[in-house]
Symmetry: C2
Subunit: 213 residues, 2 copies
Amino acid sequence: MSRPGGAGSERLSLGVAARLSRYLQVLIQARKMGRETISSQELASWTHVNSTQIRRDLSGFGKFGKRGVGYGVDSLVAEIRKILQTSGQHNIALFGAGNLGQAIASSDIFADHGFTIVSIFDTSPKLVGKKVGDVPIRSIDDLEKVVADEEIVVGVLAVPAEAAQDVADRLVAADVRVIFNYSEQLLDVPPEVTVHTSSPAVDLLYALYFYLA
Amino acid sequence: MSRPGGAGSERLSLGVAARLSRYLQVLIQARKMGRETISSQELASWTHVNSTQIRRDLSGFGKFGKRGVGYGVDSLVAEIRKILQTSGQHNIALFGAGNLGQAIASSDIFADHGFTIVSIFDTSPKLVGKKVGDVPIRSIDDLEKVVADEEIVVGVLAVPAEAAQDVADRLVAADVRVIFNYSEQLLDVPPEVTVHTSSPAVDLLYALYFYLA
DNA sequence: TAGATTGTTAATCGATTAACAATC
DNA sequence: TAGATTGTTAATCGATTAACAATC
């Protein structure tokens, strides 16, 4: 094992996978801004990851950069996608068609990374049957059918806290193994299910500590 | 220095501050759910931080737990707030009164941590003058005046990517040092300014890697 | 050639983990 | 008392950083 954290056929370490995802996000945004190359230093300033660490992470998988120039944005996007094995498209379902749900549905943020929102679910009869962009709003009663038919791998919860556990339970029962929770609810799920809870205030608290201290 | 990462009057390390913020978020939610005590094991399952690490982090600052019982939720909230020096109230300004802005304004997520949204800014004449809850929507032209008058310490950007850099520039000029960026835009700011960019898709990518691999 | 930036090494520091006595 | 969980130690592993030769 010459490359700590790096890998041939081995699984990536948690830290490496998290950082690579982060690089990818910045690269895609840089590409939108018309950038063709990017240095480890620039990546560092945007990801808050040390530039040596970035070069080390990448060099574990190949020599992607050009000395004196930096990394090609396009080619690095492709390489990282290969490493993360997320070159494909994945279908996700969004729960909740309120302000937050609509904001998520109309943003590029998931689409840019190969996630397609194929269905939005809501309980309100007023919303069911309408569309957000191209995506139909369906009744939550159809959850099980849609998850199976559309091969949903991720459920994104943009529902009120009171409703979140119920939706999570139904997703788990329908064999969805990755849940992205935008509600404040602490979700109880079996160990094989991954929950990520979005907590913007946490980052703010911690930024503020360094500002105040 | 007996406590690595712990501190008396020293600054917390980045990692410790980030983890403490995370514990705090879960504790506050647990309190809402009526919990009075919580074990390091439970905190671990909700924060994805190892339980030994949690006990170690906390024991650096005092003996907050009861063996055989766990930690008192209320008292631990108070202790962590003391450590993070964020017991006070802080005023923040929200930019953008679209779907995302309205979702943020109507959630408890910042209020729970002592952040009060005192103003929402938008460019649309249709929205300026209205309110979201109790918070007035103002014209972005008033940015400088409001920031000074209301002692705004954080700017939260829920504007389209194209508008984000402009708002950031004006916030920096108005001496705001912490920016929370919900847009996809990569922001250029001077080194003394902290930017946190919310990237939900990044977490999803990385969760998915472990699901697929 | 001169300047910039990668790829890589070596040294240090913090995070992670298992284990377990102390004690509620 | 018995069971649970903290507080703490020790060992290991990964992250961080500085430094610099290689090279575009």
